[in-house]
Amino acid sequence: MQLDDLKPAWQQFKLLSTMHPIDANEILSMIEHPESIAKTKLQKALYTMVMFMVIAIFCQGG
């Protein structure tokens, strides 16, 4: 099999990715309030850090 044989597969893969429509309000929120994206990422990072610390503290005894 050659790489060229996978060209139709890439088109099909893209088609599969279009199956779920995009929510216009969600896109508008992303471009109108980019700071909310940064805020969510910060929250996720903090959550991960706290979870890591909790696990590290509990594992210290072992």
Binding site: L3, D5, L6, A9, W10, Q12, F13, M30, I37
Partner: protein, 163 residues
């Protein structure tokens, strides 16, 4: 650019953006993050698009640059894996054999190489790929020849294994 026009562009090209997110990130959460970053970058750079190329080319350019920068920044990418051990991120999508094979092939490549293969499959020439990825044409040609050699062996092994 008007927001409703931008929304139309995103909607018409959502297949490209979502596919790239799926190719580079395994979890839904990471895919969503990457999607948000791409949308934001597209919006920020939309006024620099002068219509000299296809809109899909511009979307590929911004999307690849956003994803590759993001991967370099948070070092959270899915690393290249041996082709036989690659995760099938699209297995739930009722994909046929060739789509699954494509997924395995792409997942076995490193970040830049993935981009080169995807753009090749999309029908771009080496020179255009170089422009989109901001690489030299020689670099793209060298990488692409190496990728083809690697894949030739891998695809041969995979097709033997599936018989």
């Amino acid at each position: 650019m008007e927001k409703h026009h931008f929304l139309q562009i995103i909607n018409s090209n959502r297949g490209i953006i979502k596919s790239l997110c799926k190719v580079y990130y395994a979890s839904n959460e990471d895919q969503k993050d990457a999607f948000q970053d791409i949308i934001l970058q597209l919006w920020k750079s939309v006024d620099t698009f002068r219509g000299e190329s296809e809109i899909s080319t511009w979307i590929y350019r911004v999307s690849f640059n956003t994803i590759i920068n993001k991967i370099r920044k948070d070092k959270k990418s899915v690393s290249a894996e041996p082709i036989t051990k690659s995760h099938l991120y699209i297995s739930h999508a009722k994909a046929d054999d060739n789509v699954e094979l494509l997924s395995m092939v792409i997942q076995s490549l490193k970040e830049i190489d993935k981009a080169i293969v995807i753009l090749y499959l999309e029908g771009y020439r080496n020179k255009e790929i170089a422009e989109i990825l901001k690489l030299s044409a020689t670099n793209v040609t060298t990488r692409f020849n190496r990728i083809k050699d690697q894949l030739k062996t891998k695809l041969k092994t995979t097709s033997h294994a599936t018989r």
